[in-house]
């Protein structure tokens, strides 16, 4: 029916919240209760009634000022862009070096090194099945290998992020390499990526880990040593990503990560370290899921929580202690095998959330990352995505552009509540070590994983190409696995055997014995002993095996 315009009701008479609510109720076809992944109820509209800026000064403030909700630096990405840190690792040290130099030539500003899974597990290359060598990371077991990996890279200028499980042999190799090249240790910059052993206990299970008490001691030794001798190194990388990949909600992942961080900080204080001495070198590593606004709100809430906790709990006075610095990776769990090119869109959305959330460093997954070690083609798109967001979409022109949004500020408060609740769960159990030993954290994560799976199975959560919008499978879009060249790997193995045989057996044995003694002497810094062993020519596997024998191994629980 066509009503003449003059007869239309006057606009002002139908303005306001109540009329909107009525219109909404009338026009919405099927009202569905919406909750985000952390369980927060999401309304269709947010208004000044939800958030009106009353507590702007205390809770929001300005970038670079506590509680850092808007960002940890005054200039944020407008001043200095986030670090584009694409994780790479594959095959032999020579192959890795070639790829690294190529990436640097393309503009990468930092080095990242992912060792082969065999290294993660504490093995040398001659201790595992040949088929699995070098498929997901570089096979490096000695100082020489490390030297080759970083051939042509100025260690004093490039920041190196190493995926380096306890007992941190890779850093030991790096320091030995630096010594060879005459680069002073106090100019070495970088991060012991994922040094958070608790996250490996709880989820992911990738890193070699000693029994919990041993891992606990070695981490503190590591932090103490770096503080004294490698002061620009970040020895502590607290990981929320593993737990989120294992199924924890975004709030749980951050809450448990903070709880782990508190455990580590407590352990450092117990060792006599001053909070302001080690806290500035704590960094965080988070996942960025497809839940766009939830992630932005979470990062803002996280900065606020961390700033307050470290001041209250540790009396930290240095502002650098209060700042939650974090690296983020787009979440691989959200990517699909079906219609893989869709993953480019997914990664883009995740990356935007991370940028608007104020990260310091970003890794964007290649579209095929869920399927295999990413191909060059996929990796290039991933890097280009970051450049497009920064330079074409101008995402960095404004700091915390979503600040002041009625929705985002409300959601930030809600996420803060849920993150604190996860932290409280752990605190009630007596700390993260206790909570993990009692399987509380693992169980919680398992429940969240199951809930999410049920949502997908029931169709409640759509996954394009998987439970909706499916198409005929197009095999051509799925690339073959990138495999290391078997010839080169065999040569690498052979050279390794020659190298081992050419060492002085007496020197190696003495070094391993010294390491064993250090492991059994609570007054010795075990990491320092690891460096000595590396310099004496011990291999990664030899170092891990020795410590495993002396200190015990941390087995994975069979919990379902």
């Amino acid at each position: 029916m066509n009503k003449p315009i003059d007869d239309a009701p006057p606009l002002l008479a139908t303005a306001g919240e109540e009329p909107w609510r009525e219109d909404y109720a009338r026009e919405i076809r099927a009202e569905k209760a919406v909750r985000n992944r952390s369980g927060v109820a999401i309304k269709p509209l947010y208004t000044p009634r939800d958030w009106n800026g009353e507590r702007f000064a205390e809770d929001i403030g300005y970038p670079g000022q506590p509680p850092y909700t808007r960002g940890i630096y005054a200039t944020m990405h407008r001043g200095r862009t986030w670090t584009q840190r694409q994780l790479i690792g594959l095959s032999t040290p020579a192959d890795y070096n070639a790829r690294l130099l190529a990436i640097i030539a393309q503009g990468a500003t930092a080095v990242s090194l992912i060792p082969c899974n065999s290294v993660y597990r504490g093995y040398d290359m001659d201790e595992v099945d040949f088929e699995v060598l070098g498929t997901c990371g570089v096979v490096l077991n000695t100082v020489d290998h490390f030297d080759t990996c970083l051939d042509g890279v100025d260690l004093a200028r490039m920041s190196c992020s190493l995926n380096d499980p306890s007992p941190f042999t890779l850093l030991a190799f790096l320091l030995a390499t630096a010594k060879r090249r005459g680069v002073p240790w106090n100019s070495i910059r970088g991060t012991s990526n994922q040094s958070d052993y608790l996250s490996h206990y709880v989820a992911n299970h990738m890193f070699f880990r000693l029994a919990l008490p041993a891992a606990r001691r070695i981490l503190v030794d590591h932090i103490a040593f770096c503080q004294r001798h490698v002061p620009q190194w970040n020895p502590m990388s607290v990981v929320g990503q593993h737990m989120q990949q294992a199924g924890a909600t975004p709030a749980e992942a951050m809450g448990f990560a903070f709880a782990s961080a508190l455990q580590y900080a407590d352990d450092c204080v117990a060792q006599g370290m001053a909070p302001d001495a080690f806290l500035p070198r704590f960094t965080f590593f988070f996942d960025i899921s497809l839940s766009f606004f939830e992630e932005i709100a979470r990062f803002r809430a996280g900065r606020r929580i961390w700033a307050r906790v470290v001041r209250d709990r540790y009396g930290a006075k240095d502002p650098r202690s209060w700042r939650m610095k974090f690296h983020a990776q787009t979440s691989g769990v959200d990517l699909t095998r079906a219609q893989p090119y869709n993953n480019i869109s997914r990664v883009t959305v995740q990356a935007i959330a991370g940028v608007l959330g104020g990260l310091q460093s970003l890794h964007t997954d290649a579209y095929d990352e869920a399927l295999s070690c990413p191909t060059e083609f996929g990796a290039r798109i991933a890097v280009a995505t970051q450049n497009i967001l920064r330079e074409e979409a101008h995402l960095t022109d404004v700091i915390d552009p979503l600040g002041g949004s009625f929705y985002v500020e409300t959601l930030t408060d809600e996420m803060e509540t849920r993150i604190l609740s996860a932290m409280q769960l752990v605190a009630d159990a007596g700390g993260m070590c206790e909570a993990v030993a009692a399987n509380l954290v693992q169980r919680r994560i398992g429940e969240s994983a199951r809930r999410f799976q049920q949502a997908i199975e029931s169709g409640e959560q759509t996954v394009v190409g998987v439970n909706a919008y499916q198409t005929e499978e197009d095999r051509s879009a799925r690339p073959a696995l990138a495999r290391p060249d078997p010839q080169r790997m065999r040569s690498h193995l052979a050279a390794f055997a020659v190298h081992k045989a050419s060492r002085s057996a007496a020197t190696v044995t003495a070094a391993r014995d010294a390491l064993a003694r250090a492991a059994n002497d609570a007054r010795t810094n075990v990491f320092e002993a690891v460096i000595a062993a590396a310099e004496a020519g011990c291999t990664h596997g030899e170092i891990c095996t020795t410590l495993r024998r002396e200190m015990g191994f941390g087995h994975v629980q069979a919990l379902v």
């Binding site: 087995h555 069979a558 919990l559 379902v560």
Partner: protein
């Protein structure tokens, strides 16, 4: 096809892992082969030491079992574990993750682990577990560990299958010691307070010891031990206590009268089976029904008699010297075994007749003295059927055939491990009025 093939039985008794696993599946699922398996293995039961381990969740049972496995293996034993897990009540499915917590030694060649869920087994979980224990017993394992989760009623029934029952407690129970189900407290032969490195362990040991002290003086001695299983501490003492307990009460306690008789019965048809409440007919389900009916009606008296027999045997120097072992006993019945070694042979290389006589006479003596009064042997005869061979294990089973006020007569059948009759013995005793244990109450 209900019978089990010779080949399969041989494989099982030789310890072939697949044959054992298949036999367990058959008795677990109650499939057509189950009856044949039970029949075939019936003569080969009673050798294994069955150890029941139970206790509240959180006590670290699996870690303790792993440590026990290590200790037993080190002592040269072949050990099997039956890990009983609860099942999901709704669907009847289960995730059996317990065996992996015994990871370290679970992969050892001398260890066999089987997980059992409590899904709807016909006849109940304890019956099924009993059948599984029988298969493992027949397969020649030195020890069969039965682990149950929790301390509920079915756990009490399952631990009834055991010769030695170990109850594991976490530290810090304190006043909650009272809360431990009464059934569990009664059955424990050994208490272990695990995670002894934690605070509260001392208090728990004290509380348990106190509770035990309050029980009647004739109650058995129950050691309270402490372990740090994760650190391997205190485990050797637990094994020592278990072995000492087994030496006193013997192996195969679960088998009871029916199965005893079924084992000892000669293969020749028509031969009488023995007195008491045992039916003359050798039912195909004798071995299995034993588990249902083995709880004797006058339970306390049977246990008392059995324990008396164990005590009498324990203080007999000749029993120890010859290597005889009490397999089972109750009022008027006793079964004694002897594994034949070089020391038992005569100049012809077969078992010395005097050894067989001693074996039979020991069973005769224990059976006739089981009621607490000194019974003096006045007449005994033996007939030898076939020679005893080196390496065989002979079992002498004594049953009472007649008892008056002053006299009692017994028949003892001596059989080889495969049931072949080796000798038949008869004996008469004069019953005195003197108690054979002056400090203990009479039957």
């Amino acid at each position: 096809m209900n019978a089990i093939s010779e080949h399969a039985l041989d494989a099982l008794r030789a310890g072939d892992r697949r044959a054992i696993a298949r036999a367990i599946s058959a008795v677990e699922n109650d499939d057509p082969r189950a009856g044949g398996i039970a029949r075939a293995i019936a003569p080969h039961l009673g050798r294994a030491h069955v150890i029941g381990i139970t206790g509240a969740p959180g006590a670290g049972k699996s870690t303790l079992i792993n440590a026990l496995l290590g200790e037993l293996i080190a002592r040269g034993q072949r050990v099997s574990v039956v890990a009983v897990d609860p099942s999901s009540p709704i669907s009847g499915g289960a995730v059996l993750g317990d065996r992996i917590r015994m990871g370290e030694y679970g992969a050892h060649d001398n260890v066999f682990i089987r997980s059992v869920s409590s899904r709807g087994h016909p006849g109940g979980l304890s019956r099924t577990t009993g059948r599984i224990v029988d298969v493992l017993d027949a397969a020649g394992f030195d020890a069969v560990i039965v682990e149950t989760v929790g301390a509920g009623q079915s756990d009490v029934e399952i631990t009834d299958l055991a010769d030695t029952r170990i109850v594991v407690c976490p530290p810090g129970l304190g006043d909650e010691v009272q809360a431990i189900k009464a059934g569990i407290m009664e059955i424990a032969d050994v208490f272990v307070v695990n995670k002894a490195e934690l605070a509260g362990a001392d208090a728990t040991v004290r509380d348990l010891s106190e509770m035990l002290r309050l029980r009647p003086r004739t109650a058995k001695v129950v050691p309270v031990l402490r372990t740090s299983a994760a650190r391997g501490q205190g485990v050797a003492a637990v094994v020592d206590a278990a072995l000492a307990h087994a030496a006193a009460v013997g192996h195969g306690r679960r088998l009871g009268a029916l199965a005893e008789a079924a084992r000892a019965a000669p293969r020749a048809p028509g031969a009488p089976m023995g007195g008491g409440s045992v039916s003359g007919q050798r039912s195909p389900h004798a071995a299995t029904h034993a588990h249902i009916h083995s709880a004797p009606r006058s339970a306390e008296r049977e246990t008392e008699a059995a324990e008396r027999i164990a005590r009498l045997a324990a203080r007999d120097p000749f029993v120890a010297g010859l290597g005889l072992r009490v397999a089972s006993g109750r009022a008027g019945h006793a079964a004694v075994t002897l594994a034949l070694t070089d020391a038992h042979l005569n100049f012809n290389g077969t078992c010395h007749g005097g050894v067989i006589f001693a074996l039979a006479d020991t069973a005769f003596g224990l059976a006739s003295n089981s009621r607490g009064l000194v019974a003096a042997g006045i007449d005994a005869h033996i007939a030898y059927h076939v020679p005893g061979m080196l390496g065989d294990t002979l079992t002498a089973t004594a049953v009472e055939v007649s008892r008056t006020r002053k006299l009692a007569a017994y028949r003892v059948d001596v059989a080889g491990a495969d049931g072949t009759p080796v000798a038949s013995f008869t004996g008469t005793v004069y019953l005195t009025a003197r108690p054979n244990e002056p400090d203990a109450p009479a039957a």
